[in-house]
């Protein structure tokens, strides 16, 4: 794409749009209001400001909402609502526990591997919502401290989700904005995330070595066969999910959006299982979807004002030199990770996407920036207990154990989270830098 004419000065429209963005993000991050309410307020203000000053209008606001992201998230949420009652997750958790044959370290590796793999396709928050209470029960039955397992599962579900286009909402947004298909995403993110996964598990085994140095006696007193209430329903649900996964790998060749592919599998599952739509819709996290849509509208307004182009052009000079490009990518990765450790990574991702798109207008190869952003927001969440929703669920579940040893305090998380985040970023940066040509467009 030929370079466009660079915006050079800050205009009144940019200041107004930037002001609304900062105010809305401040409301979201300080949690003065529920994040969906704060984002909706910001979206309404942005449209009003845009209409008053002439840089944004209602039509542009609606166009700013990424339909592929929204529908993909909706379809996968409904797919989870179909899969959840089948008992497949419970079956897997109990089976894995029995396969560990009394070795706490093996149990930790198996459980984290399971949540990582599930999180590559399904929402990792749901995975943890299901696995965390089971993990507490399993560890109580085996007389183990649940804390290491809960922390490890949350962290590894975040890492697993970072590997695929559909594993994490930021990835869906990045893939949709950059037109990256499922296979290309997996091929680029898979290797660094695999290295990070191995390194992180090894680190967690070391950090929790005192908790895991026990030989467990006896069988875990849970019957996995009772988890599956309707094998036929499970087979149909898994078959539909398998179809979605297969279509994810070829959606670009068929010229289908990932969202449409997810819808195909969802409709098939609904037909086969005669699912009640009302029940499925009731399990959709509407506040999350509204939050995302409102963020798109807010950032669309900032884009309409030209502010993001200006920011992009300022950054473009820094990244134009190929050697500096690697540095810029690594800087983006680490900044994204640091911010994602303390604040919600979605607003950051939504704001960064048009800036990176803007860099393309300045004639830059932006492909490596997408991967750097995806790695950063995906791994940063492990740093603190509030860095990712899965972490919050693990902490909340640890508080219900009734065992003070098992409670995950913010400090307890930081002791493990900071080294884990740093080590995973170092590993990802090393793979990224060593094979930088691979990440170029």
């Amino acid at each position: 794409m030929p370079p466009e004419i660079a915006p050079t000065e800050l205009t009144r429209d940019m200041l107004v749009a930037g002001g609304v963005l900062v105010a809305a993000y401040a409301l979201i991050f300080t949690e003065v209001l529920h994040r969906a309410t704060a984002a909706l307020l910001g979206a309404v203000l942005m449209v009003v400001a845009g209409m008053v000053f002439g840089f944004y209008d209602q039509e542009s606001a609606i166009q700013a909402i990424d339909g592929n992201t929204m529908v993909l998230l909706l379809a996968m949420m409904m797919m989870i609502a179909i899969l959840r009652p089948t008992g497949a997750f419970e079956y897997a958790a109990v089976r894995i526990t029995k396969l560990a044959r009394g070795d706490a370290r093996v149990l930790l590796v198996y459980l984290t591997l399971a949540v990582s793999l599930i999180s590559m396709i399904l929402d990792n928050v749901t995975t943890i919502i299901i696995f965390a209470p089971l993990t507490v029960l399993i560890t109580r039955l085996l007389k183990l401290n649940p804390m290491p397992f809960l922390i490890a599962e949350a962290m590894m579900s975040n890492i697993g989700g970072a590997a695929t286009l559909v594993g994490d909402p930021p990835n869906i947004m990045i893939g949709s904005a950059a037109n990256i298909d499922f296979t290309r995403f997996l091929v680029h993110m898979g290797p660094p995330i695999a290295v990070v996964w191995i390194g992180t598990v090894a680190l967690l085994l070391f950090l929790f070595r005192d908790h895991l140095r026990v030989r467990l006696s006896g069988e875990v007193e849970l019957d996995e066969r009772k988890a599956i209430k309707d094998p036929a329903a499970l087979a149909m649900a898994l078959g539909s999910l398998a179809l979605i996964v297969v279509l994810f790998f070829v959606h670009h060749k068929l010229h289908l959006y990932p969202a449409f592919v997810a819808l195909v599998g969802l409709v098939l599952a609904m037909l086969l299982l005669r699912s009640q739509p009302d029940r499925l819709f009731a399990e959709v996290h509407w506040s999350v979807l509204i939050f995302f849509a409102a963020l798109f509208v807010i950032v669309g307004g900032v884009e309409g004002s030209g502010l993001l182009d200006l920011v992009g052009w300022q950054l473009a000079d820094m990244a134009r030199d190929p050697e500096k490009l690697l540095l810029a990518c690594l800087a983006l990765m680490w900044v994204a990770a640091m911010l994602s450790a303390v604040v919600d990574n979605i607003p950051f991702t939504v704001a960064m996407i048009p800036i990176i798109v803007g860099l393309e207008k300045a004639g830059l190869d932006i492909a490596p920036l997408w991967w750097a952003l995806a790695i950063g927001v995906g791994l940063g969440g492990n740093g603190t207990h509030i860095g990712a929703t899965a972490n919050i669920i693990a902490v909340s579940e640890s508080e219900k154990t009734g065992d003070p040893r098992g409670r995950i305090t913010p400090v307890a998380w930081l002791r493990v989270g900071i080294p884990t985040m740093v080590v995973s970023l170092v590993l990802a940066s090393a793979v990224y830098a060593l094979f930088f040509d691979y990440f170029l467009g």
Binding site: E90, V94, P133, L134, V136, L137, R140, L141, K143, E221, L222, D223, E224, K226, A227, E397, K400, T401, G402
Partner: protein, 151 residues
């Protein structure tokens, strides 16, 4: 058929009472809960055995996987010292604010409807804010049997 025919008079729960005292009254009267009254004797809440046991004896993670549990889980059972601790807890921590109550003139069908609405197995009978006793589903079932005996 009158609710007064099946009402079970009981004591009430109030601030300062223990779980043990409430459970003792419930067990003696064979009722699943008691009204909780303020210092003026007005019913302002209820204490339910089910809710109290749920809050003190069974962790949520066990409920979620109850269908998978085997029988050899004795080490998760409550110890004697834990039971003592639970029974000595003040009942105030377990008061539910949703109170279903009716007057003595209310028909049985209204009592059943109110029980369904509040998802409970009992309602309190109060006249002019004075507590008369508790009406349970079991009491209603007995009344129905009495009204239409086997010929």
């Amino acid at each position: 058929m009158h609710l007064l025919d099946i009402v079970v008079p009981t004591d009430t729960a109030a601030a300062g009472m223990t779980v043990r005292e409430v459970f003792t009254e419930c067990a003696e009267r064979n009722v699943p809960g008691l009204p909780y009254v303020d210092e003026r004797g007005k019913v302002v809440g209820r204490v339910s055995i089910r809710h109290t046991l749920k809050m003190t004896c069974i962790p949520e993670y066990m409920v979620k996987a109850a269908h998978l549990l085997g029988d050899a889980i004795d080490h998760l059972a409550l110890r004697d010292d834990e039971i003592q601790l639970i029974l000595d807890l003040p009942i105030d921590e377990f008061v539910l604010e949703d109170v279903a109550h009716l007057s003595a003139a209310s028909p049985i069908v209204k009592a059943l409807s109110v029980m369904e609405y509040y998802n409970t197995g009992y309602v309190f009978l109060c006249d002019d804010e004075r507590y008369r006793g508790i009406v349970t589903r079991m009491g209603i079932a007995r009344l129905l049997l009495k009204r239409s005996p086997v010929i």
